[in-house]
Amino acid sequence: MEEVLAEIERNHVLDSIQEGKRVDERNFTDFREVEIETDFVGKAEGSARVKLGKTEVVVGVKFEPGEPFEDKPNDGVLITNAELNSMASPEFEPGPPGPEATEISRVVDRGIREADAIDLESLCIEEGEKVWMAFVDIHIIDHVGNLIDVSSIGAIAALMTAELPYEKYELDPNSTELNIQTIPVSITAQKIGGEIIYDPNHLEEEIGTTRVTVITNSNQNVVGMQKGISGDWKQDEILEVVDQSIKKGQQLREKIKENV
């Protein structure tokens, strides 16, 4: 019975798209509403609760002094973790991160890193000995589609509002600083029945054939891409998504700036 209902629901989503509209009335390129609340976890150095439509993530940032990597003795360390909390979807199982969670954390991490969003060198406390380690922990708590984009917003918003805990570790507040140099924005598109839609909800994801994510920086350059899910893309389609992502990325970036 459940399976039959799910089948009817999927058909409805597909039929809508083939008639040129989406079940939630959006146009193909429309994003859902974004809500950002920052600094709501007092014990985190930075935090953000982000809703993209009904999809919801909580991101917390913690800083600790630690050792730098041997090949980057002057750089702070960024560690990004995404957890598909079991409460977020009936499909998510408890346990260590699977491939889906791993992909989210790596794509979000890559966006921040490749965009040079954080100036890691300004997180060096003592060359080769001690640097700030930034732990960005992403908790997905309600999965209504497009986890990569909402996680990216959450991560950068939490970092933008974070403050280094000098006092706790008895360190000189002038020794280092946390510079956010650009805001990387991730835009995800999905192919469904020959059409390309943006910011898919979870029902659209279920029937979609393939997906691509484009991350741009404030200069409107591309700093990351990730094709996901089996299925194929034509080069032209990819470039169309890139063009849209540059445009939409700029809008979303403004939205983030306003809300943080």
Binding site: F40, V41, K54, G60, V61, E64, N85, S86, M87, Y169
Partner: protein, 241 residues
């Protein structure tokens, strides 16, 4: 690392606690019902600085089958602290403390749920602590029970949970972090308000028999106040008298 220190006194001359509360006063509490889209039931609770989400899935078929009970549903309860919810970052994954709390919390809820209505099924309860400020196990339970109601799970009563503790020779309600770290005892209980049956009881510290009795009494008073908040939140969501 800079450390917290034990205060000189926990209760001042006006009988006020270090956070300004009376001896029998709960921290500020706020409960919201139905906060998640995908879960079958959910609730968000703040108690002082504690910030917790509870979600319920089920009853649903349990897999693999050899874990099923032929004549009743089983409950799974996962107590989880976000790594950023505490002062020093917590490593992801459940430690021994989380495992124990999950066990006693599950046991605290079982007697309230009509398990025999759902043979071979599982009811999953997930609680996630976004910010932790003493009293998470009890606050999680209070929220979980509301999330169960939101999911439409039939229960003979809500379960509500609260702690009392001892500081400066006084029994106080709903201890905060400093009172927890440097106080003399912590007595978390859970109960079913209609019958005052106790479904969770732990204690650590050092109490005489009579102090223990008073602690249980005090915690029960807290439970009653929280129970009103549970009902209010459910009423806001579902209406009804």
């Amino acid at each position: 690392m800079a450390k917290k220190e034990k205060p000189d006194q926990f209760i001042d001359d006006q009988s006020k606690r270090i956070d300004g509360r009376e001896i029998n006063e709960l921290r500020e509490v706020n409960i919201e019902v139905g906060v998640l889209e995908r879960a079958d039931g959910s609730a968000y609770i703040e108690l002082g600085d504690n910030k917790i989400i509870a979600a319920v899935y089920g009853p649903r078929e349990l897999h693999p089958r050899h874990l099923q009970e032929p004549d009743r549903a089983i409950i799974r309860y996962k107590y989880s602290m976000a790594s950023f919810s505490v002062g020093d970052r917590k490593r992801p994954g459940p430690g021994r403390r989380s495992k124990e709390i999950s066990k006693v919390s599950k046991e605290a809820l079982e007697s309230a749920i009509f398990l025999e209505k759902y043979p071979k099924s599982v009811i999953d309860i997930f609680v996630e602590i976004l910010e932790s400020a003493a009293g998470t196990r009890t606050t999680c339970l209070t929220a979980a029970s509301v999330a169960l109601a939101d999911a439409g799970i039939p229960m003979n009563d809500l379960v509500v949970s609260c702690a009392a503790g001892k500081v400066d020779d006084e029994i106080v309600l709903d201890i905060n972090e400093l009172e927890d770290n440097f106080g003399d005892a912590d007595v978390p209980i859970a109960m079913k308000p209609n019958t005052e049956d106790i479904t969770l009881l732990q204690m650590d510290g050092d109490l005489s028999r009579d102090e223990l009795e008073k602690s249980i009494e005090t915690a029960k008073q807290g439970c009653k106040i929280l129970h009103e908040e549970q009902k209010k939140a459910l009423k806001e969501r579902y209406g009804g008298e």
